[in-house]
């Protein structure tokens, strides 16, 4: 999948990054990274803090030069092209609105630099502000706006230039949770309305899953996996992705038997489970298995568990109430391995008590395991 978008289909790609490398002293911040972003799509780069996301984005924007590799925007190589000449605009993490100017002048700034006449740029800035729902704010000062409004001004300021590509560096990071949820939806709608290609950086997996058409999961300067949010969630390619995207129970052990794609695993504490192997695994190798909390089913009696799935027993350790995301944390009876299971929406297990014995099972085909000890652990 890394080779996608080289050569002939570059025409339908707004962004092609080919083998980009950036080193700081002896630290490789971006390591041989290649990907492409289809025109009009919403692409997210998801990764933990310090994995090189900002460095990558700044290379695309032109603030730093790659040590190696090539960046093409709209099919054109960007080597030697300054940030002010690239058909790319960036929404900064701290927004970087100009406090010395009115909101309208902020939005019109880029147009003025392009030599658009004053009347025309004020008209266009006003039209853009109206599209982001801030029609009345043109004369206000930046510090008279709320966080969410500033966010929209920052986006309007970039979109008014009709860039090929809009880069967003954790633009919701500074907002509080409620506003972040709201702006998430708004961003998605804005992107759909404008049809501009978005490249969005975040360390928040839920933002990436909700917003994106495609996501690249980044770790230590490389992409671990690229794909649709569904692919990342249901078919993680590496243990890192399985652990980073969505909640997961991680069980470390050794493969004790292999039957086709299903591997029997004995955990370090001696719990026997079965899971689908993502890559070929030989018996005896160390493995990491991942089971999503919503994949497992709970039952008060073992007989109520779905037939054909290995049954497990445990005790309720604690109840994690979080509305629709409520879960129960339990310990497997013998091995005492901690295991998290999502509570069904029906409210069926709302009366669980701590210490109560409980039965559970999961479909081995929906759990996944990887050889352990791969570099990404």
């Amino acid at each position: 999948m890394s080779a996608a978008g080289t050569g002939q289909d570059a025409a339908t790609h707004d962004l092609d990054v080919r083998g980009a490398v950036k080193r700081f002293a002896d630290h490789v911040a971006v390591d041989q990274l290649s990907f492409s972003v289809a025109r009009g799509s919403f692409f997210s780069i998801l990764g933990p803090s310090g994995c090189g996301k900002t460095t990558l984005l700044r290379m695309i924007a032109g603030f730093i030069q790659p040590d190696d590799g090539e960046i093409l925007i709209g099919g054109r190589s960007m080597a030697g092209v300054g940030p002010n000449r690239r058909p790319v605009n960036m929404v900064f993490q701290q927004l970087a609105l100009f406090p010395m100017m009115s909101v309208g002048d902020n939005v019109a700034f880029g147009l003025a630099r392009r030599g658009v006449a004053r009347a025309e740029r004020l008209r266009r800035a006003q039209a853009m502000l109206e599209r982001v729902g801030l029609g009345g704010a043109a004369r206000k000062k930046v510090d008279e706006l709320s966080g969410g409004q500033r966010q929209r001004v920052a986006i309007a300021r970039s979109l008014v230039l009709e860039p090929t590509l809009l880069l967003l560096d954790e633009p919701l990071g500074a907002l509080d949770l409620k506003l972040r949820e709201h702006m998430k939806i708004e961003l998605k709608q804005l992107q759909a309305a404008f049809g501009t290609t978005f490249v969005y950086i975040t360390h928040d997996q839920s933002e990436a899953l909700v917003l994106s058409d495609h996501v690249g999961v980044m770790n230590r300067g490389r992409f671990e996996q690229q794909g649709t949010p569904q692919q990342l969630y249901y078919e993680p390619a590496t243990p890192f992705v399985a652990g980073f995207v969505g909640a997961n129970n991680r069980i470390v052990g050794r493969a004790t038997g292999v039957a086709g794609a299903i591997v029997s695993i004995t955990s370090e504490q001696g719990w026997l489970i079965r899971a689908r192997s993502a890559t070929a695994i030989a018996a005896g190798t160390a493995v990491e298995a991942f089971v999503r909390p919503e994949v497992a089913v709970l039952a008060r009696a073992a007989a109520d568990l779905p037939a054909g799935q290995p049954a497990h027993g445990g005790e309720v350790e604690s109840l994690l109430f979080d509305g629709a995301n409520s879960a129960v944390l339990l310990r497997e009876r013998q091995s005492r391995v901690e295991f998290r299971i999502a509570l069904p929406q029906t409210g069926q297990f709302a009366d669980l008590r701590v210490g109560e014995p409980i039965h559970f099972s999961f479909d081995p085909a929906r759990a996944v395991c990887f050889p352990a000890g791969v570099a990404h652990a």
């Binding site: 002010n84 000449r85 960036m90 900064f92 970087a96 100009f98 010395m100 100017m101 700034f109 392009r114």
Partner: protein, 294 residues
């Protein structure tokens, strides 16, 4: 700031008064009192030995005598020119300290700006004289390189005075500039660049508006220092320096005409006050904002 926890208003005001008392006393004894005395002095005229009447004669003399107001205007114009020159030189220096260098290097450059102040102004200015006089280092070098046929006198020119003034006041411009440039968020510059700005338009639209209070503060301080400078213009300009402080000195010390000297002093005060006011008006700054920068 209304504060429910502290006592009634008069109590707080008393406390504030007590805290400020030493400063107010100092202000009164050393600045206000002598100024009042000088003001009274400037508005009287000696009609006979030990006999004085109130009059505007001192001020009339100033306007009647072309030499006086010629020197006055010259001092103002040269100070203004030197202030602008200082700004133009200090800005790149401040930019380098605030934005381009980090840590030790930045501190080092700052110290380089400070070094001239380790020696007294007199010694510093005499140093210039040693370099620039006809038998000095620079004329000899120029002659040696063949730029001039023979060593020329570099002292006693207006340009020399300007150079000396700029040199002595550079630090007072650099300090407020550095502090105002340091507070400029780098991402604003990057954002402007990203939106298509060029170096010049970013300077004009982002950097200068942000640094305006610092620029104004530096200019005000430097302008006042230059206007009131005595040593540098006198030593570097020699007899032709024609600096207004020199006229004041002459009236007080040489001619023993304190009345005239006091009037000149007030004219200089009026000049610097009106220039500061004009500067603030032109740059659209408020005095409070600017003074917080110094």
């Amino acid at each position: 700031m209304p504060d429910a926890t502290s006592g009634p208003a008069w109590e707080r005001r008393l406390l504030l008064g007590l805290l400020l008392a030493p400063a107010l006393l100092w202000l009164f004894a050393l600045i206000v009192l002598p100024q009042i005395d000088l003001a009274l002095l400037s508005f009287r005229e000696r009609v006979a030995p030990r006999e004085y009447v109130a009059s505007l004669a001192q001020y009339r003399t100033f306007f009647a005598e072309p030499l006086y107001w010629h020197v006055f205007v010259r001092t103002a114009v040269m100070s203004l020119a030197a202030t602008l020159a200082t700004l133009l030189i200090a800005f790149p220096v401040a930019w380098t300290i605030a934005k381009l260098l980090r840590g030790r290097l930045s501190a080092l450059l700052f110290v380089v700006c400070l070094i001239p102040f380790w020696v007294s102004e007199t010694v510093r200015t005499l140093g210039w004289m040693i370099l620039l006089r006809e038998s000095g280092v620079l004329p000899a070098l120029l002659a040696h390189l063949g730029v001039t046929a023979a060593p020329v006198e570099l002292l006693y020119h207006d340009a020399t005075i300007l150079v000396g003034l700029v040199y002595t006041s550079l630090l007072f411009m650099v300090v407020p500039l550095v502090s105002s440039l340091e507070s400029l968020d780098n991402s604003l510059i990057e954002a402007a660049y990203d939106l298509g700005g060029s170096g010049w338009s970013i300077l004009r639209e982002i950097v200068i508006p942000h640094a305006a209070p610092g620029i104004t503060a530096g200019c005000i301080v430097v302008f006042m220092l230059m206007l009131g400078n005595y040593l540098t213009p006198t030593l570097l300009g020699g007899k032709s320096s024609q600096w207004f402080t020199e006229q004041i000195y002459t009236q007080f010390i040489v001619r023993f005409n304190w009345e005239q000297g006091a009037a000149f002093g007030f004219l200089l005060l009026a000049l610097s006050t009106s220039m500061v006011w004009l500067g603030l008006k032109l740059s659209g700054q408020r005095f409070g904002d600017v003074m917080r920068r110094t």
